[in-house]
Symmetry: C2
């Protein structure tokens, strides 16, 4: 039996590996080892090599957040969209046992390779959340700070819950952040 992939099948597999090993830690041999996909296929789908693989993974992640989180925050009912955001984030990061690829890339020199994408991912997240807060009746000044606090808080919870190996801590922190955001909407 022989498996035949197409590019779209490969990207999520790569994403998981980049997430766990980081950009530098991800080697072609470890990709092959974990997925069974050989160099032939990898360079067929991603002629630009490792860098193109990482770029494709980043674009895929970005697209998911755009559709599942940012877009609803901009246009759907703001309270419902914010509730959905918290639920989606909890699921997506598997209660903290899955890392944010973009956040991880931001920390080391990998950032230099992808800095526009990384920056954009967070800028759009914060801005979409800010808009939702304003639409929910939050004061303009408070909205930006609250949005920054929420997005920053999620990243911190990921780092800390992973360091402590404690999923419960992630859930607890996200609940606290959600409560605080809800208080902001009410003008707290």
């Amino acid at each position: 039996m022989k498996t035949v992939y197409e590019r779209a099948d490969v990207v999520p597999l790569l994403a998981e590996i980049f997430r766990e090993l980081g950009y530098e830690g991800t080697t072609l041999s470890r990709i092959t080892e974990r997925t069974g996909i050989g160099k032939g296929s990898l360079y067929h789908f991603f002629p630009g090599g490792k860098e193109e693989m990482a770029a494709a993974v980043l674009a895929d992640v970005d697209g998911w957040f755009e559709r599942a989180i940012y877009e609803p925050l901009r246009h759907d009912d703001p309270r419902a969209a914010i509730d959905a955001m918290w639920a989606n984030v909890m699921d997506y990061f598997r209660s903290g046992s899955r890392v944010c690829l973009v956040g991880a890339f931001a920390l080391d020199e990998t950032r230099q390779r992808f800095s526009p994408v990384i920056r954009d991912y967070f800028v759009r997240w914060i801005e979409a959340l800010r808009q939702a807060l304003v639409r929910a009746g939050c004061a303009e000044d408070d909205a930006l700070a609250a949005a920054e606090e929420a997005v920053s808080g999620i990243q911190g919870a990921l780092v800390l819950s992973r360091a402590l190996d404690d999923k419960e801590m992630f859930r607890r922190t996200l609940d606290r952040l959600a409560d605080r955001l809800a208080a902001t909407k009410r003008g707290g």
Copy 2:
């Protein structure tokens, strides 16, 4: 002219490199390139190679936090120690342009190599801060949550301010975290 080092001189130089490049991204040749220290010296000071270098760096970082932050939180005047913590954190991380080595190691598979050290660093930070809050008159239940929130918030601010390349965002977030902690002390 020829520079002669001793081990204690080398550790801080290595720390900066591990911080910027991550564990996997740090190679012996890049260490030599950035510091001028050759393999001969490196393996003389750290016979265990790269892993021992990283362990030494982690121990050094841990020691600094222990002396400069945790110990005052446990024994000095709690309000003064908390104020000093915020000031020290701001300086140490250079307004967000310097990354937390321990947090960075926690995100990728490097965690597996050093998981006890990584966990301990954060556990002791949170516990020391919790004690200070209790001593400052905060309720036991609120103290743990507030301490977790502060430490987690710092890590998030590091990720986000680096992703956005925005030192001001780091300062703003730390100020907000500090205010919130102060409110907790007053029983907010």
